[in-house]
Structure formats: C-alpha cells, structure tokens
Amino acid sequence: MVLQRSIIWRYALSTATLAAAVLGSGAHAQAVVRSAGVARTSVHATNVHTTNVTNVNVSRNVNVVHYDHWGHPLATAAAVTATAIAVGTIVHSLPPSCTTVVTAGVTYQNCGGTFYQPMYQGTNVQYVVVNAP
C-alpha cells in the first residue's frame, strides 16, 4: 500500500513540474495565448488543415502581453509605448485608444502610432502590425 501511494505521488509531482515548466506560473500574467485550445465545431473541417482549432496567439514579440490566464484581454498600452512592435506581429485584441482609418477600401487601426490591420482568420478577427498606410 505504501509503495502504491508513493508511485502516485511521484507521478503527480512530475506532471505538475512539467506543466509548470511548459506553461509558466499562472500568477504572473506573461501569457500571450488566450487559451490552450477550443472545441471543434465541425467534423468535416478535420479534413482541412485549418488553424481554427487552437486559439494560440502567434505573437512574435513576447513582451506584448495580451491575456491573463482566464482569457481576459489585458491592457497593452504600457507595452505599446515602451517598445516598437515588429511589423508582422499578430495579435487578437487591440490596445486601448485606437483610431480607425479606412484607406483605399482597407481598414486599419491606429493605436498610438502602431498600425494594425484587422482581418478574418477563419471567423475570428486578428490584427497584423503593418507599416503606416
């Protein structure tokens, strides 16, 4: 009986360590991903190589914080002013205080000098950092 309990304990410990290493502590909100995945809403789409299954934010600038560990969008104003965000960075929520600009039939969001172009990725909107239009 003692041996069985110690096996369970060791397994739990190693799993927790692995999870902590991979995901980071939930306490400090450095997470750039909103979620670890979302349910598929169709079987037919499994035949296509879509990226709709996971909602992972492919931000290349890991200093731009977007979501807390519950999936709430976080204010990124501080990060925006502190560092220039690389063109091509993709985010799923905008910093506060953006101005909408429509040029040549294309919409841009101007957030403190950084221009984001909204586009549908599947049926969700993502914003790509672009050069000023």
């Binding site: 809403t41 549908y120 909107v125």
Partner: protein
Amino acid sequence: MQAFGRPRVWAVVPSIPILIVAALLAVGGLSATPAGAAAPSSAGPAIDAAATETVDRMKEYLRSLPAFTVHAQGTKEEIVNRDFKLQRSIETDITVKKPNRLRAFGVGDEGRRTFVYDGKSLALYLEPDNYLATAPAPPTLREMLDAMLERYGVELPLLDILYVATGGELGTKVLESSDIGRSRVAGVECEHLAFRGPKADWQIWVEQGARPLPRKLVITTRDNPTAPQFSALLSWDVSPTIDETMFQLKPPPGALPIPFKELPEPRQPSKK
C-alpha cells in the same frame, strides 16, 4: 489462544505481485465496465449497421428538403487556466434555400456574426466591431461551404449539417460507430448514435418518426489532450417562409471593410 500472525516479512516487502496483476488487468482491458456500456474493444463489428442506417435516413430526409430553418443553442468549450473548460455560449439561426441561398446569424460570447450567401459571394459581418468581409463564392451551397473552408478556414456554423443537407458526405473516415439507444432530447424521442473518427468523436441524436432530423449534436475534439466538446440542441422549421431580401446583406453605411486571410497552401492534401 495463541495470537495468529502472519510472518512480519509480508507486511514489509512491497506488494509487488498485486501491482503486477493490476498492471496486467489494465493492459488486458479486463477492467470492469458497466454492463451495456459501449466498450470499443469488445467483440462485434466496428461499424454498427443500425447507426449507419439511421444516419442514412437522416441524410436522405435533409437532402429532400428544398428549404429549412434550423435554430441551434450551443456551447463550445475553451481551455483556459491550464485545464479549465470554459463553456462559451452560442445561439445560431440558419435559413437555407437550395440550391444557393443561405443566411446565418450567430450570437455568441465573442460577438454577433451574420453570414449571407446569394449564389455569387459570401459576406461575413461582425458586430459590435463592425467589420465586413466579402469573398466571391461558387454557385452552389456545398461548393461554397468547401471553398470558404479550404481557402480561408471559414467554417460556417453547423457546417456538418449544412454540408450533408446540400448533398455532401463528410470526408472523415468513421473508425467505429454505435447505436447507443433511445434518448430523449427536448421532449422528443431520438436515437442516440456515436461515431469515432481520427481527430474527433461525434454523437447525433436523430428524431424518431416522420422527420429524422438531428436534434442534438456533440463533437469531441480528440486532437487536443483535454478533449474539449461542442454541443448543440437543434430545432427545425422544414417549411419556412422565405423572402429573397433575407439573402441580401444590409450592413450599416459605415461598415469597415476587411479581408479574409488566405490559408497557406497545403504541402500535401490531408484526407483523413
């Protein structure tokens, strides 16, 4: 009376024989399952003929309808906080008029989406963001559903049902299936069917009687270790009142134009 006692050595030595037996039982699949539970490793055909027959009847009925409106009350699980399965809510109304008209309106935790297809293009309008995208589309519903999926990764709501109802076959290989038995959904007697595919499991509750319609749909995502589920309760109007203006999108004048992002070209076709 002399105290009966086992030799002390049995209490000290780890009970290895018990662990070995337990391991063998687990590997051999002899762990007890409740009587009547559908255990995939049990004897019998992997594909249940009764389930196939019921699904075929459902497909035939859906394909016979020239038009329909379906209302879905759904939940979609999203994994946050490591392994917390948040349930996102979504309510959708879809009107289809074959061969090439569709309007879908979905209200969810992540905004309100309107899809409109008029045989020439598909428009997607998102509120409250006020974003509108339009793409040229093929001339029939099924082709449009495939084109939007393959080109932009745009999955219309209740895609499987729309696809089958407009003549398509789900391209997914069914690894196993089973007719689970009778089940009641929203006061209606249904046949509960279960299907296993390579990346997803799905369950359909098919209404008994003259209208073999899907009344509930559950999809379990198996290529995510936490296996999040999508679940939808469906109600139907199989002879809806159709007005052609339903299939014209009338966004507000200041709607913001955005593009659909194209999916990267696949290196090889994925047919599973």
